[in-house]
């Protein structure tokens, strides 16, 4: 069994506030894990620690077999520099709640930016790959549209294509449908569903319990910086054992 993510006693603090309180988590290659929980429970923080948008204050995180943010030498941990952190980030692709497309670039330019600038692949090859990705997310006709000309759902699908263009080993989704109008949620979930079927390892922070139940291999419930309960979707969503999980799920469903 190989793990794409392993977290051992991960701690993250913002000032006095403990966002992650000794979190242990193992995620296997090819697994789709949905993280649910009330806001402020640390779900997004965990995701942001995995791709080093936040630096952890304790414990250790391994992504794709590499210790995140440090190099081990003898009995010391040496902090990595900017370049090495950027290289480690290549293992993961991130999709943000607010899309964060580059507004001064077209959909196509958004997608080829990373492959050309970071991976130094040939522009021709990148453009072909980008057009394939756009087709995959159903936006072949929007290659030359600027983000401002796209709906929220379309922007988020371009953002997914942009992350996939870097050929990551793991995709992280930070509430990808929370900023969308209700009628646009479906198209984004459909793209994620297809991606899950293709065997991509995914961690999805979401409030879409229906999606979690249908697509996830495993659901993790977090509260107050801790993983309260983890298990198969039906287990967690239908028959939660923990009081807090029960409270949250009935609150979301009603």
């Amino acid at each position: 069994m190989s793990f794409i993510v392993q977290g051992k006693s991960v701690v993250k603090k913002f000032g006095d506030f403990v966002a992650l309180d000794h979190v242990d988590i193992d995620i296997e290659n090819g697994e789709v894990v949905c993280i649910v929980g009330p806001s402020g429970s640390g779900k997004s923080t965990l995701l942001r620690c995995i791709n080093q948008l936040e630096k952890i204050d304790g414990g250790g995180l391994w992504v794709d077999g590499e210790l995140v943010g440090y190099r081990i030498a003898g009995s010391a941990l040496h902090e990595l520099d900017d370049k090495q952190i950027a290289r480690q980030r290549l293992a993961t692709g991130m999709v943000f709640q607010r899309f964060n497309l580059f507004p001064h670039m077209t959909a196509l330019e958004n997608i080829i930016e990373g492959p050309i600038q970071v991976l130094k692949r040939s522009p021709q090859e990148c453009r072909e790959q980008a057009l394939e990705l756009l087709e995959r997310v159903g936006l072949s006709d929007k290659a030359n549209a600027y983000p401002v000309e796209l709906s929220g759902g379309q922007q988020q699908r371009v953002a997914i294509a942009r992350a996939l263009a870097m050929r990551p080993r793991l995709m992280l989704f930070d509430e990808p449908t929370s900023a969308l109008d209700p009628e646009l949620v479906g198209e984004v979930l459909q793209v994620m569903r297809d991606l899950a079927r293709s065997g991509m390892s995914m961690i999805v922070v979401t409030h879409e319990l229906g999606f979690a139940r249908e697509v996830a291999n495993r659901v993790v419930f977090m509260d107050a910086g801790q993983i309260v309960e983890t298990g198969a979707p039906e287990e967690i969503l239908m028959y939660p054992r923990n009081e807090r999980t029960r409270g949250f799920i009935s609150a979301v469903l009603n």
């Binding site: 991130m94 943000f96 942009r162």
Partner: protein, 286 residues
């Protein structure tokens, strides 16, 4: 109130028979007339004043004036380029997580914004009083008076001073870009510096450009201060001519006309640039 009534007509086609009378802007009409009148009076006064317009016409394209004009434009462009390069570098240093860089940038901005530009020009020009020779001993050395010619002193004085102001403009622009843009850039594997260059700076340009355009225009006029260190820009040359022929007003008008021409062209260029960097912002300014 003879035939008009306030009741709606029975069908909408009836309304289309009415003639629409546009609103009258009496205030605009009146103020335009007053302004035209004042302008007329001003032109009349200058036309009848003791000004030899033929002298203005003759010196407008005099060699010394055109040479000075060229120097003014050249110095404005070079000093502005130096200013923008320094501004971007120091803005990034000012926002760095490295505290040494941050304090160096703060010190630079503090010093060069804190002293008058004319004093800085004089300092550069008279640098030889402090350092008679410049260079790295053994590698190359030169007498400071040979290096600090008016052109070099003016370029350093104006450009470095401009950099201090531009640094603050650029910093404001960088701060205006959403933090999510840095995160998105880093999430596709960019380093902090590359994110700045490829993603954040191009977006900040939209905010940075209008004030930079403004400062470029101000730089064109600020180059006239370099006349105190004998840089032969247009005002300096105009002065030299009127010291000889005593046609003070005529030559000042010649210089004034050329400044207006250059600034007008620059303003046009600024608009074109702003339009280019507004790509994807969903807004076209007129």
């Amino acid at each position: 109130m003879q035939t008009t009534t306030q009741t709606p007509p029975t069908s909408s086609t009836e309304l289309s028979d009415y003639k629409i009378v546009p609103r009258r802007h009496y205030g605009r009409l009146l103020s335009s007339l007053i302004i035209l009148g004042l302008l007329g009076a001003l032109i009349h006064a200058f036309a009848n004043g003791d000004i030899e317009w033929s002298v203005v016409g003759r010196f407008l394209t005099a060699k010394a004036i055109l040479w000075g004009l060229g120097n003014t434009v050249l110095m404005s462009i070079l000093a502005m380029i130096l200013g923008v390069v320094l501004g971007v570098v120091f803005a990034i240093m000012r926002m760095s997580s490295n505290s040494v860089l941050r304090y160096v940038a703060k010190g630079y901005i503090w010093f060069f914004r804190g002293t008058p530009i004319i004093l800085q020009l004089l300092l550069w020009f008279n640098l030889a009083l402090v350092f008679p020779t410049l260079g790295i001993p053994g590698v190359f050395e030169a007498r400071t008076v040979d290096v600090m010619v008016p052109f070099v002193a003016a370029l350093l004085g104006l450009g470095i001073n401009q950099g201090a102001y531009t640094a603050e403009v650029v910093r404001g622009g960088l701060l205006s870009v959403d933090n999510g843009q840095y995160e998105a850039a880093m999430s596709i594997g960019m380093t902090r510096l590359k994110s700045l260059r490829r993603i954040v700076l191009p977006q900040a340009m939209r905010v940075i450009l209008p004030p930079i355009g403004n400062e470029t225009i101000s730089m064109i006029k600020m180059t006239s201060l370099a006349s105190v260190i004998q840089y032969s820009e247009i005002l300096h040359n105009a002065q030299n001519i009127y010291y000889a022929n005593a046609r003070v007003m005529e030559l000042l008008i010649v210089a004034g006309i050329w400044y207006l021409v250059v600034v007008t062209i620059m303003s046009f260029g600024q608009r074109m640039l702003e339009r280019r960097f507004a790509r994807g912002s969903g807004r076209v300014d007129h």
